[in-house]
């Protein structure tokens, strides 16, 4: 494959490591005997590095997210899709069965304390619990932190916790609360401020 004419068109993708194997091998064979293309690789690698530095990181914009979520909530409800109808019927049936089961269990379990509300004030954190963490350990941690689960789990297992006694502007207290949650090894694998 070393008989490739100067493979100028492929070199940028050789540099960013996305060439398919066959093309990568052909370029490598060519580079072994071509000073011109080796020099071109040097230019492209420097260019790639500078483009990354010049572009920089753009951390998530909290105001932008708040604006987006307002618009998301105001967006019209999506249209029902035809295949949803049987799925909905199955879901309703499952809910009925679960309700009957819960009713039966309710008579066998000690009463659960009603959750506090409304959920206003405080600071909201996002937490991912360790898969092996027991309910008892999670409950103990939440009680020690005076935290309440207000949402979740999301698709990636993230819960939203509200710490009612903290003020959003009190960065030191928020950082301390995050540090305490993160220190709960075996219970918390990730904790971030929202």
């Amino acid at each position: 494959m070393s008989e490739l004419a100067h493979p100028d068109e492929l070199l940028p993708w050789y540099v960013n490591h996305t060439l398919p194997a066959a093309e990568r091998q052909a370029v490598e064979a060519h580079l072994r005997g071509c000073e011109r293309c080796s020099a071109e690789i040097g230019f492209l690698e420097a260019l790639r590095m500078q483009v990354k530095q010049a572009t920089g990181e753009h951390p998530p914009d909290r105001v932008g997210l708040q604006r987006l979520m307002r618009e998301v909530r105001a967006a019209p409800t999506r249209r029902e899709r035809p295949w949803l109808r049987p799925a909905l019927a199955a879901a309703v049936a499952a809910v009925v069965v679960q309700a009957a089961l819960i009713g039966w269990l309710w008579t066998r379990q000690p009463p659960i304390e009603p959750l506090g509300g409304p959920w206003s004030g405080g600071v909201v954190l996002q937490v991912r619990f360790a898969p092996a963490a027991s309910e008892a350990r999670i409950r103990a941690l939440l009680q020690a932190s005076d935290a309440t689960i207000i949402d979740g789990p999301g698709a990636l297992g993230v819960y939203r916790l509200r710490l009612r006694d903290l003020r959003p502007g009190d960065r030191r207290a928020v950082a301390k609360a995050l540090a305490e949650l993160r220190a709960a090894r075996g219970v918390v694998v990730q904790a971030e401020a929202e």
Binding site: N16, G56, H58, A75, R78
Partner: protein, 192 residues
């Protein structure tokens, strides 16, 4: 088993398709910066880039059910960003103020070592990137900031792979010429 960023992005999109706001928030945190960087490179205006990035995210909320798992979430969402950017540029009749002359190809007068030194001058490079055409700048950004293959870039820009390669070739040659010219001007200025 650990999941890749693409897998997690796909999971989030599935959640968004079911109307889960929390997954939308997480998707925003993961992808907004990259969408904004792409739009800023294309539109060259921070306010426009932020506005269009918000439109892209709303489109994700409305259209997540259209995402097909065989694509990468990043490719899919940058494709949406590309269409929104083109719409914005058409609406505002956006043209590059000064586009590089890429007809004259290589700047053969510059040696390879010179070119590497020139491209490492961040100020010069930024000025030259700004002077590329929109289409050329997009390819450079996707290849060297996002490290995407030519196939994915073609999917995002909705053009043939050959066009992506050709645009990259001309962008690279234009940058070389620009770097050479600016270095010459700066050298003259410094000698005064």
């Amino acid at each position: 088993m650990p999941t890749s960023a693409a897998d997690e992005g796909g999971i989030l999109l599935a959640g968004i398709a079911r109307g889960r706001e929390q997954d939308m928030g997480e998707f925003y945190r993961r992808y907004h910066g990259r969408i904004y960087a792409f739009l800023l490179r294309r539109l060259r205006n921070a306010a426009d880039a932020a506005e269009v990035a918000n439109e892209v995210m709303l489109e994700v909320w409305r259209g997540a059910a259209r995402f097909e798992a065989r694509a990468r979430p990043l490719t899919w969402v940058l494709g949406i960003a590309q269409h929104k950017a083109v719409d914005r540029m058409r609406r505002e009749q956006h043209f590059a103020a000064e586009e590089l002359d890429t007809e004259d190809l290589a700047d053969e007068s510059a040696g390879a070592v010179d070119l590497v030194a020139r491209v490492q001058d961040a100020t010069l490079l930024r000025r030259c990137l700004e002077r590329l055409s929109d289409a050329h700048r997009a390819v450079v950004h996707l290849a060297f900031f996002e490290d995407l293959g030519y196939g994915e870039i073609a999917a995002i820009l909705d053009c043939p792979e050959g066009t992506v390669k050709t645009r990259m070739f001309h962008a690279k040659q234009g940058l070389k010429r620009c770097l050479g010219r600016l270095l010459g001007l700066d050298a003259e200025g410094g000698a005064r």
